[in-house]
């Protein structure tokens, strides 16, 4: 087998390329079988394995399995399997293909040992994920996909530029710790920051994810951002700059999540908040913190996929996804409602749920390094989780007063996928050892101490109290059918408007200046025409008599001159 194919990520990509050619049953078998095979393959590769190949004069490392890559590789395969199960009922040929190629390229990026391989997989994720948006075929989704692709390819270009500078300056291709002092590393950080949805670079996420199909969003939510977190953890662990960036990320999307009407947009903003926790952990950079970031990526992929699955099921069954139109579905979709509550409890870090055991690792790491302000910010953000997603999502989808919708439970495969994901959330919460055993570094931490449980329960109870009092006082922002401006305003409104004004100015100036120029040239042309036109002096047809007379005159002149 060629070295570049000897990679679990390439297995998924090849499977994804084959899938559109297969009949339905075989297609679905490949869709579910490929992630299982890839996971089994990854599992039996001993940690510390690398493979090398030569391309032009460079020695690439297409496969590098170590602790950090292993954790992300495992959860990417699990996510690919669960989202495959969730899209079992679709008869689309392209969507499973795009999903597998996307998952495979994200896996390949995580397992890449050098910057060039990383860049190639980085770009494939961009294209495959944009394909997931395009497949839906809606006009709006196409426009969104164009914006999305622009941002993603932009991130790839920054990565390419940064990597080129780095490789040129150091002669080293290895993707290891970079830090901010390495040549080209600011460009690489910018590339990672775009995909990790840093503040002000974040809005592609909330723009694109709510526009995908119900099944597509589940796939999208898992890979791109967590791949970026992995890349940050690999290249920038312990970079202090990331701590304030992450802290801001945990707070400001909360406001947008509280205001947003589209429930998938609410989830996208809350995804951004959770990424902030991981970015802070990467910034702290100790073994405990990197463990926390990896653990939080694992649990976050699971419970966020679960929430997107339940809301996707609601969208598929009712055709609605906005809070203003939903509500009252709990009796009609009891299973989906129950899974949604489990996901919401998990993201709010209820004890016994997955979010609790991973978030507390990050908070412990922050406290251990004595970042008091950051610790308070993160704790506040995790209390806020109940306000913007923990209560909001289940309430508006399933419990809000609404007797206008009649629907049924989603197809069996969707329920099984949601059930498995919910079971995983609870299992990781009940037996944290399961989660801690796949983390990059050995874990010596017990989340279930009496004081930790008590403080967490206080946090939850009192933020629920704040929610309830604000709700009863009519202060909690009710969902509205409206647009809330975010940074996408810059490229959806400001730049086009700027371009429009520039165009007007251009046309006006052309009309003025051009008018002057053309009148000038017109006079010139008129004069020329007077002499050289068909009836001009110089091209007039002369009669023979006139010619003879002129010749006689000329001869007379010569005679006079030479005589």
């Amino acid at each position: 087998m060629p070295v570049w194919l000897n990679n679990p990520g390439m297995l998924l990509i090849v499977a994804g390329c084959v899938i559109p050619l297969l009949p339905y049953r075989l297609r679905m078998a490949v869709l579910l079988g490929a992630p299982i095979a890839s996971l089994a393959w990854l599992w039996q590769i001993p940690l510390g394995t690398t493979t090398e190949m030569t391309l032009l004069q460079y020695t690439l490392t297409p496969l590098r399995v170590d602790g950090l890559a292993f954790t992300f590789g495992v959860i990417f395969n699990v996510a690919a399997f669960l989202s495959g199960l969730y899209m079992w009922h679709t008869h689309s040929r392209l969507e499973p293909a795009a999903a597998l190629i996307y998952a495979g390229s994200a896996l390949g990026a995580v397992l890449a040992g050098d910057l060039i391989t990383l860049f190639m997989f980085w770009e494939v994720t961009a294209i495959a994920s944009a394909l997931l948006l395009v497949i839906r075929g809606l006009r709006d989704a196409m426009i969104v996909a164009r914006r999305y692709l622009l941002v993603q390819i932009g991130s790839g270009l920054f990565l390419m530029g940064g990597a080129a500078i780095y490789i040129h300056a150091t002669g080293d291709l290895t993707f290891g710790h970079l830090g901010l002092d390495a040549p080209g590393s600011w460009l690489i950080l910018l590339a990672f920051g775009i995909k990790a949805a840093f503040p002000l670079l974040h809005n592609w996420l909330q723009d694109a994810y709510p526009s995908a199909s119900p099944t597509g969003t589940v796939v999208l939510s898992a890979f791109t951002t967590k791949m970026a977190i992995y890349a940050l953890a690999r290249g920038y662990a312990g970079t202090d700059l990331l701590i304030p960036i992450g802290a801001v990320m945990t707070i400001f999307p909360i406001i947008y999540a509280m205001l947003a009407n589209d429930l998938r947009r609410v989830l996208s903003y809350s995804l951004n908040v959770q990424l902030g926790f991981m970015v802070v952990a990467v910034g702290i950079g100790t073994e405990l913190a990197i463990n926390g970031a990896a653990a939080h990526a694992v649990t976050h992929i699971l419970y966020k996929a679960l929430l997107f699955m339940t809301i996707g099921a609601v969208l598929r069954q009712t055709g609605h996804v906005r809070a203003t139109e939903l509500g009252g579905l709990a009796r009609q979709m009891p299973w989906t409602a129950a899974f949604c509550v489990i996901g919401a409890a998990s993201i709010s870090a209820f004890p016994l749920m997955a979010g609790f055991v991973s978030k507390s690792l990050i908070l412990a790491a922050v406290a251990h390094e004595h970042w008091a302000g950051t610790w308070v910010t993160l704790t506040a953000a995790s209390a806020g989780a109940l306000l913007y997603v923990g209560i909001k999502i289940p309430y508006f989808a399933f419990f809000a007063p609404n007797d206008q919708i009649e629907c049924e439970e989603p197809p069996l495969n969707m329920r099984i996928a949601m059930g498995l994901t919910a079971a995983a959330c609870i299992a990781l919460g009940l037996v944290p050892g399961l989660l801690y055993s796949i983390l990059p570094y050995p874990v010596d931490y017990n989340p279930y101490t009496a004081s930790h449980i008590i403080t967490q329960l206080q946090l939850l109870a009192f933020s629920a109290l704040a929610f309830w009092l604000a709700w009863r006082a009519g202060l909690y922002p009710r969902p509205k059918r409206a647009v809330h401006l975010d940074t996408d305003w810059v490229y959806r409104m400001l730049l086009p408007r700027f371009g429009y004004v520039a165009e007007r100015v251009y046309h006006a100036s052309v009309a003025k200046l051009g008018g002057g120029l053309s009148s000038l040239s017109e006079t010139g042309m008129g004069r020329l025409r007077l002499r050289y036109d068909a009836r001009g002096v110089m091209s007039r047809t002369w009669s023979t008599g006139w010619m003879v007379l002129w010749v006689a005159v000329l001869l007379a002149v010569y005679l006079v001159i030479y005589y």
Partner: protein, 87 residues
């Protein structure tokens, strides 16, 4: 699918039930405070040892977030078709 009414599938909770669940929430809040009188968490920071620190932090955060959201919404809200006719 939108239909006229679907009363048997959805029943609006009565005011009594709402009051009862609200009372349950108050009791739960009070209950979570009780053990912190006896258990002293030994955190890395001094301020976490104040009894009920987490409760206070959560409550204040909730209130501040709601108030900030109200103010921010006034600034950034636009009509639903804001991006449709932009020039």
């Amino acid at each position: 699918m939108l239909i006229e009414r679907n009363p048997q599938k959805y029943r609006r909770p009565s005011t009594l039930a709402r009051l009862r669940s609200a009372r349950l929430l108050y009791v739960l809040c009070a209950l979570t405070l009780v053990p912190s009188l006896f258990i002293h968490p030994h955190g890395e920071f001094g301020f976490t040892e104040i009894p009920g620190f987490h409760a206070l932090l959560a409550f204040v955060t909730g209130c501040v977030l709601v108030l900030v959201a109200i103010v921010v919404r006034r600034v950034i809200i636009r009509s639903e078709d804001y991006y449709e006719h932009r020039t």
